[in-house]
Amino acid sequence: MFVRITDLRKTFGELTAVDGVSLGVEEGHTLALLGPSGCGKTTILRCLAGLETADAGAIEIAGRAVFDHAAGVNLMPEQRELGIVFQSYAVWPHMTVAENVGFPLKVRGVAKAEAQRRTARVLDMVGLASASAKPATALSGGQQQRVALARALVHEPRLVLFDEPMSNLDAQLRAHMRMELAVLRERLGFTAIYVTHDQTEAFSLAETVAVMNHGRIETIGDPRSVFRRPQTPFVAEFLGLNVHRGRAVKSHPAPDGGLYVEVALADGLSVWGVLGSATPPAEGAGVLACTRKEHIGVDKPGAASLDPAATAAAHPPHARLFYGITQAASFLGLEEEYIVAVDGVTFGAIQPPRGLHAGEAVTVTIRPEDCIVFVEDEARR
């Protein structure tokens, strides 16, 4: 592993910001730390940079211990050979664009001509060659972020840290910068750790995504598996799934060796789902049923091929079809988002436009393979 974090801990007074985190990043890879604000992701990044001192644990970058609590090792930020891009850009207002970008070379004592050459090359790469003599604050937010990026890359650091770099940009610019960053990374092949609360950024830029909550890693893996199969209720909720509390009714073995569980969400309203927890729930135990909005089928009555009476009785596990009422409908462009109520339980659903309005009677379809069931005791919430 190129970057290795071992059992890192950091508290601020009463608050445990990082609670025993261990993880690794391979050379040339990007790790995304994804999570809501206050989950500890930025603290890990700042510990990596040497801007915070962890209370315990060790950090190794490129085979060198930069922090080791037990051994008393704690390198200064400037000794760690890193690059960093902050959310606030942190572009120095009293310097020109070229002075900002050339700073890491200047403080390293790189000869002037050489520094100018390298600065020009990086500025060219981020598309700011023509702005190099401008005062940094004369640039727009997106351009300032490019300056920050160029500054973080110019000295070819061993590791580049990104602290929510796109959060201050508007949505369109963010999408654009994301693509640019992906291209730059492809070209330069730097190792990076990318902190964000935006799942799209995390999934599109990283080889590995770690979802964090309360200072711990909830789940870590490649973007596809993290997305497709949330490992915990927290991850499911963070990724935007419907999460409903219910009781386990019965279970049935699945063909792939897993377990189907029937969950009662309300009187006379139960769905089948796939068990996501390690141990099966006892009958009547509290469970959480998680469904992806895109997988909740919403149709005009009669359009669906299933018959509610037949699906309720169907056994073993089968898709369930209910009658519901749309409470709200919003047009998103290629899709429409609905909130539908079934027997007092509400589901969010995203479907290709069906032309439905609020207050319409609809059928709601939920298939067992689209519903993940977690035993509630396991849920750290």
Binding site: L51, P77, L82, I84, F86, A90, W92, V107, T137
Partner: protein, 574 residues
């Protein structure tokens, strides 16, 4: 629908006269505030300019440059100007170093007790520089000073080791007094600066000192330059300290020289020409500084709530930080107060307190038996209470004029209204003296009151303006849209929101007026002495009385200071 419309118009009809009155007030009141301010500034300014080019001889008055010619051919002018600039530059330099260091250790390190020091560092801001100079005489005067005696008796050092009666002594006392100005100017940007600006430098390879040199200090430069200018013009123009520390040894400075020119046999013409030179110089310096700031103004505050990163000091650095605080608070507050108390409690002052000389007689005399001091306390209280109230009143109107609405020439108005910030009090006092000298106003408390307000209302206007800028005008617009008249909007929305700034400005003016000397010294007459004037008068008689009266003044100032703390308003808004 018809019904609703007619009843609405009925309401409008009833309220119409009130609305018309309010519309008049909306235009007239802020304009009146500005007009009064302009008159207060331009009156003495023009009087000084005109007087400087008038020459009286047997044939009567005539326009002439003889005053200036006389001034420029007098070597004393050059001595005074040189010494004054030396005083200003020295005090500015030391204040900047002290103020920056104190602000940094308080706001950016984990120095123990920094919450307390944060408050204590401001105390000298509230004390009287004249009393500070007197206390330092008690401490360091050759042979009789407390410290001088200690050094002599304990270490056998010469008794006149500390040259307190010198330009150096004046610089030292001025620096102690003006350090909080720098401290206040730089601590806000230091605190609110995006820590990522420094973090980025560290991560990209700059060490602590390199970051300080290449990033932190340049980012603080605009705030530091503003502070340096204010400290330079005000410390150089201060009459109090040179009067106590330079005059006794015949060292000439600008303020004491102007004071001398007004004394019998007075030469008002030459004093006025000296005043014009000072005013032109001050305005030039201010304009140059504005140019510099405008070129280098940049946003280091992104409006996000940052938790400033505190630096963990190593034991050696922590000791150094605490020593710095101890020296500043010790020299600026503790030692002077101890000296004052010791002198005020002694029947004869010999440089040490003994049981035989311990007495409360000085306080008894000053408070109960002496007409001059009793009158002085009453006068000072009157001037401070009435002056602060009137000053804050016009400052609110001016702040509104400058920050709200679409009045033309706001920039020019603001520039003119800020002029007195740099004009020394004694120069403004001279202007009012020239204006009032042959009128019934001369030798009244009223002329002193007017001079005080004219010299110091810009401080209040600044404070109120800063807060007004931070109040979203939509709050007032909502009130107007809800049907409130302008007067109602002021009363129910804007003034309550501005109250913290109004209270802060009032207390600031109160403190300034209680201790003011420069603007008073040319305008007082028998019966209109203030506390500070009484201190000067008494200083030729008994140090015990002086110290006792100074302690009384100190109490008044400390009461204002604790009120300031109690209202929890921040001086940083100024």
């Amino acid at each position: 629908m018809t019904l609703a419309t007619s009843s609405a118009s009925e309401v409008t009809d009833i309220a119409a006269p009130a609305r018309r009155g309010s519309r008049f007030a909306e235009i007239a009141l802020p304009a009146a505030g500005v007009f009064i301010g302009m008159a207060l500034i331009l009156g003495p300014f023009l009087a000084t300019v005109i007087r400087s080019v008038l020459w009286w001889d047997a044939a009567g008055a005539a326009l002439s440059m003889k005053n200036f010619a006389g001034l420029f051919s007098d070597p004393r002018f050059y001595q005074a100007a040189g010494n004054t600039i030396l005083c200003g530059v020295g005090a500015t330099f030391i204040s900047c170093v002290l103020g920056l260091s104190l602000a940094w250790v308080v706001s950016r390190t984990d120095m123990p007790g920094r919450r307390w020091f944060e408050v204590f560092n401001l105390v000298p801001f509230f004390l009287s520089p004249y009393v500070g100079a007197i206390s330092w005489i008690y401490l360091a005067a050759p042979h009789s000073g407390i410290v001088s005696r200690l050094l002599h008796d304990t270490f056998g050092l010469p008794g006149d080791l500390i040259p307190i009666y010198s330009i150096g002594g004046a610089i030292w006392v001025l620096s102690l007094f003006y350090t909080p100005y720098v401290y206040l100017f730089v601590i806000a940007p230091m605190r609110q600066m995006d820590p990522a600006l420094e973090d980025a430098a560290r991560v990209h390879g700059a060490g602590f000192w390199t970051t300080l040199r290449l990033v932190t200090l340049p980012l603080l430069a605009p705030a530091l330059m503003s502070a340096a200018l204010i400290v330079f013009v005000t410390s150089a123009g201060l009459f109090d300290v040179p009067l106590a520390l330079a005059s006794p040894h015949g060292i000439r400075t600008m303020p004491t020289e102007i004071f001398q020119l007004v004394q019998y046999p007075s030469d008002l013409g030459r004093a006025a020409s000296f005043g014009v030179v000072v005013m032109v110089f001050t305005i030039l310096v201010t304009v140059l500084q504005r140019r510099y700031i405008d070129r280098r103004r940049f946003e280091t505050v992104t409006g996000k709530g940052y938790r400033p990163r505190t630096i963990a000091l190593r034991p050696g650095a922590r000791a150094a930080a605490l020593a710095l605080e101890a020296v500043y608070i010790g020299c600026g507050v503790v030692l002077p107060v101890i000296a004052l108390l010791m002198v005020s409690l002694s029947s004869i002052w010999t440089g040490k307190v003994t049981a035989a000389t311990l007495t409360l007689r000085n306080f008894e005399y000053v408070a109960f038996n002496y007409r001059l001091t009793q009158q002085a306390v009453m006068n000072s209280l009157f001037l401070a209470l009435v002056g602060a109230t009137l000053g804050v009143g016009i400052s609110v109107l001016q702040a509104y004029y400058v920050n709200r609405g679409t009045r033309k020439r706001r920039g020019l108005v603001d520039a003119i209204l800020s002029l007195p910030l740099g004009i020394p009090g004694i120069i403004l006092g001279l202007g009012f003296l020239i204006l009032a000298i042959r009128t019934p106003l001369y030798s009244t408390l009223a002329i002193i009151l007017i001079a005080y307000i004219a010299r110091f209302f810009p401080f209040a206007t600044r404070t109120v303006s800063a807060m007004l800028l931070a109040i979203n005008p939509e709050l007032e617009q909502s009130a107007r849209a809800s049907g409130a008249t302008w007067l109602q909007t002021m009363r129910y929305v804007l003034l309550p929101l501005l109250m913290p700034a109004i209270v802060a400005a009032w207390l600031m003016l109160f403190v300034i007026f209680i201790r003011e000397l420069g603007a008073t010294i040319l305008l007082y007459a028998q019966g209109t002495e203030t506390i500070s004037v009484a201190l000067v008068v008494l200083s030729e008689r008994s140090s015990g009385y002086v110290a006792a009266l100074a302690v009384i003044q100190l109490m008044l100032l400390l009461i204002a200071f604790s009120l300031f703390r109690a209202t929890r308003t921040s001086l940083l808004q100024a």
